[in-house]
């Protein structure tokens, strides 16, 4: 028997052979750049001033920790991501509980939840930019007609309302993901549990806290972690709607990295910033991967 036939019959070699192309592609394009990104972050590499290029060790990181605009963007990103997640979970669970009831057209309404998820994020950004338009945006028309304000406002010129509106746009797009996952989890709760609790005299509120919420907790944790991870990486939404303004009040970290790297062309400094951000994101990511990985091991 030729060697390659033997290899095909041997589980070990066959398994490796089938997995190799995927691993090579993912390694080559993801993990190697991730490592070389770290290498780049240890250097001064300013494209406009090649004569100053040098290996500088951790200098970029030291500079970063004193860079007020970086620290500001870190705070802005954390606010954006955390507030978004709170609303995405709260709204998501509420909507899922409603859609879990019996009503006519339930399948159709559940199907609609897929719409914001499927929408390209750039279209989401352009759509809200249009809604927030100061002169003929739908938001101004709506709040004026409802009598909440008496004349059209420039919402995005104010730091607080700009941030709130960014969060609104993000929550609209991301909530359905929570809804769909929570709905699936709700369907997995056996109805007998509620019956038994009812017999034992548990009130509606007690049943909700001790059965529904308790059993939803694992899913809510996973969704929360993912939404935090994604929230930290938000780029196009902010780039299009506010561009980071007014006065850097909505300048999220990804915008800062982009500006430093591809506009100021400070590749080393930008890489350090990106790397630090990646490390921050890796904390929730590790929890998430551990949880998800455990589910395949138990398979």
């Amino acid at each position: 028997m030729p060697a390659w036939r033997l290899a095909l019959n041997n589980q070990h070699w066959f398994g490796l052979l089938l997995t190799a192309p995927t691993l090579i592609a993912v390694f080559g394009i993801f993990l190697i750049p991730f490592v070389s990104s770290f290498w780049l972050s240890l250097q001064r590499r300013d494209l406009p001033r090649p004569q100053t290029d040098a290996f500088v060790g951790l200098e970029n990181y030291a500079l970063l920790l004193q860079d007020p605009r970086f620290l500001n963007s870190l705070r802005v990103t954390a606010t954006f991501a955390c507030v978004s997640v709170i609303f995405e979970l709260w709204l998501g669970i509420t909507i899922a509980l409603v859609l879990n009831q019996q009503f006519r057209g339930r399948g159709f309404v559940r199907g609609l939840m897929i719409l914001p998820w499927a929408l390209p994020s750039i279209v989401n950004a352009a759509m809200w930019q249009w809604i927030y338009n100061a002169d003929y945006g739908a938001l101004n028309a709506l709040v004026t007609q409802l009598g909440m304000v008496d004349h059209y406002q420039v919402w995005l010129a104010n730091a607080r309302s700009a941030m709130a509106l960014l969060i609104l746009a993000n929550v609209w797009k991301e909530t359905p993901f929570t809804v769909l996952l929570v709905l699936a989890a709700l369907q997995g709760i056996p109805p007998d549990l509620y019956e038994a609790a009812k017999v034992d005299g548990a009130s509606l509120w007690q049943r909700f806290i001790h059965i529904t919420l308790r059993l939803l907790l694992p899913v809510v944790m996973i969704v929360g972690l993912l939404q935090i991870i994604w929230g930290f990486q938000t780029f196009e939404l902010v780039q299009i709607i506010t561009g980071g303004g007014p006065y850097s009040s909505t300048e999220v970290i990804s915008l800062r990295i982009y500006a430093q790297t591809f506009q100021s062309l400070r590749f080393g400094y930008g890489a350090a910033m990106a790397y630090l951000t990646a490390l921050i994101i890796l904390v929730p990511a590790i929890f998430y991967i551990r949880g998800a990985y455990r589910s395949i091991v138990e398979y």
Binding site: F14, W117, A118, V123
Partner: protein, 284 residues
């Protein structure tokens, strides 16, 4: 008394559902309405939410205008073409590679079979921004910046882990006895995969393909940084439209509607598969 209360709760429930539907649909519906409106109608205060007349002029202007605005029309059409080519090729290549490794991970015991899944998942969690800078440098050296193959290659790396993860689940749910029977009848492993397992996993394949296509079609950051002229995808073109001053807004609305048609239609048609996929693997 009791039945009154019941009617009351029913009404409350339907009211809640109505609020949910409006909240979910209204922003996108407004984009569609805007794209079909005359500018003069949208400028009126107070605004009429349902316009009295509609027009396809914004779409015609976007796609067919000649003269000074011509650049935008050809840019948009180029973007759609690039998106279609890149998303389709990334999907097909991912399916080919992903099916093989997912099969191996679901069925075969080999050194590193679990470790490689862990690595794939970690890779998928890495923020795009942390790798896009060296990728930019790498693609420039390989002369693949601003090219369809270059972008396809990058898309492979973030879609493949997803494909493997979802397909692994599908394969694991197919009983291996069927395959064993085929192999006793003289099929090779690959033959059994091709003739027995894949036909059974066909619904899974379709849903994974839809996922992969939507992920590639909607991707913005990599495309924004790694393309500059020839290979711009439609999200990049829309991003440019929305940051460019003075461009007619209703034309951007039309572009947004056209660009979201493929993913939205696919998602609505395959919603059952998508929801199942979403709940078994975390997909953005």
């Amino acid at each position: 008394m009791r039945s009154y209360r019941r009617v009351g709760t029913r009404m409350l429930l339907y009211l809640a559902v109505l609020v949910i539907v409006v909240w979910t649909v209204a922003p996108f519906l407004w984009l569609v309405i805007s794209s079909l409106s005359y500018k003069i109608d949208l400028l009126s205060v107070p605004l009429r939410w349902i316009p009295s007349r509609i027009t396809f002029q914004n779409y015609v202007d976007l796609l067919f205008v000649r003269g000074e605005a011509n650049a935008n029309a050809s840019l948009f059409i180029l973007g759609m073409a690039n998106s279609l080519v890149v998303a389709t090729s990334a999907t097909l290549i991912c399916l080919m590679l992903g099916v093989l490794s997912a099969y191996a991970m679901a069925r075969l015991r080999f050194p590193g079979s679990r470790g490689s899944m862990l690595l794939l998942m970690t890779a998928q969690m890495l923020p795009a921004l942390a790798i896009v800078i060296p990728l930019y440098v790498l693609l420039r050296q390989m002369n693949l910046l601003d090219s369809r193959p270059g972008l396809t290659l990058v898309y492979l790396s973030f879609i493949l882990p997803l494909v493997v993860w979802l397909m692994r689940g599908y394969f694991a749910s197919i009983p291996s006895e069927l395959e064993d029977a085929a192999r006793i009848d003289g099929c090779s492993r690959l033959g059994a995969l091709w003739r027995v397992v894949l036909p059974l996993a066909a619904p899974g394949l379709v849903s994974v393909a839809v996922f992969a296509f939507i992920a590639a079609w909607n991707e913005y950051l990599f495309a924004f940084i790694l393309t500059s002229a020839d290979a711009k995808t439609v999200p990049v073109v829309i991003g440019e439209f929305s940051t460019k001053l003075g461009l007619e807004y209703l034309r951007i609305a039309a572009a947004g509607v056209l660009a979201s048609l493929p993913p939205v239609v696919l998602a609505l048609v395959f919603q059952r598969f998508i929801i199942r996929g979403l709940t078994s693997g975390a997909v953005k």
